[in-house]
Amino acid sequence: MSRISGFESFFIDKLIGYLSLMNKSFEVTPEGILVHETINGKETLVTIYITEKWIRIHANLGSLSDVPEDKRREFLEKLLNANWNYPEISFGIDSEGNIYSIQDEFVYALYYDVFEEEYNAVLASIEIFNEIKKAILKPEEAKVQEKKKTQKG
């Protein structure tokens, strides 16, 4: 999606107002509004930017390369299952293999209640993503630990 200039200031002003009401720590940059979040003690960056018809809220959750190739199909299927199990949970992958939690808000629907809901959906999906990743990688990690133990023995 291409990002637009012009007309942006109206939406940026609204977004700044909403983030202030939500007591968020954020900065406005040419790349979008960067919101600093701490989730389970881990710093996470949520980015908000404006395209032609949509306001995108997203958070980079990690890279597909972190998941062993033989686990990827199951992992990706679980992400798509999560989209089914939870309303407004949506994941995407960019050309470099970065995995994102994504919410797109139609510009006509940009008002506080909707924005807050969609923003919180991005935060909620971070937890869901971590659970999925943990469940997929757990047997793999257990195998690695087992191998280490055997080698030590």
Binding site: M1, T51, K53, W54, R56, L64, R72, R73, L76, E77, L79, L80, N81, N83, W84, P87, E88, S90, F91, G92, I93, D94, S95, I99, Y100, I102, D104, F106, Y108, A109, Y111, D113, V114, E117
Partner: protein, 184 residues
């Protein structure tokens, strides 16, 4: 005496608490009834012929070119409206093909590149295009945009993507181009 006063207060509190629960329930019913009325109004404004389906929803059979796209608009209680259509059953696009042909990765890349797209798989492996609208955000413009996004996703998927997946094409740019030429 003190014990009696505390019992009296507990009784009043329990009555008020039950009343509040009842009011909440009624308020929710009122909000959902309003949302259902709005959906009916929007569907009629869009001149769609619909059928009522069990499970709190309605169904529209969209005819686009030579395709029939079944679109479901349902409530996902307590606060979501879901618009979805089946893109491919698990038999049409089995997990082994999905695995071998990077189907899930391509779908997630499309979802990243196009705001209109959101794919999902149910517990049986069936693939859908889906959009959710918060009841509080339900307006005609939003409904129309999301409804049309689901229909367009299905048309492009069935016309352009499904055959590519079945041929096990893995070049993402080819899939992206198929969408780009259709979405403006």
């Amino acid at each position: 005496m003190e014990n009696s006063e505390s019992k009296d207060s507990a009784f009043v509190q329990t009555v008020l608490s039950a009343l509040r629960a009842k009011l909440r329930e009624e308020a929710q019913e009122f909000i959902l009834r309003e949302a259902a009325m709005k959906i009916l109004k929007y569907i009629k404004l869009l001149k769609k012929d619909f059928k009522v389906v069990s499970g709190a929803g309605l169904y529209v059979e969209e005819k686009v070119k030579d395709l029939t796209i079944p679109v479901y608009v349902t409530f996902r209680f307590p606060e979501w409206i879901e618009i979805k259509t089946l893109l491919a059953t698990a038999e049409e696009l089995p997990p082994e093909i999905a695995n071998q042909c990077k189907v899930y990765e391509i779908l997630l890349r499309l979802a990243n590149d196009f705001a209109e797209l959101s794919f999902t798989i149910d517990k049986n492996g069936n693939l859908y295009a889906r959009q959710n609208i918060l009841v509080g955000a339900l307006s005609f413009d939003v409904f129309k945009e999301e409804y049309e996004a689901v229909v367009l996703s299905a048309v492009i998927f069935k016309k352009e993507l499904l055959s590519r997946f079945k041929q096990c094409k893995k070049e993402y740019e080819e899939f992206k181009e198929a969408y780009e030429t259709q979405i403006t």
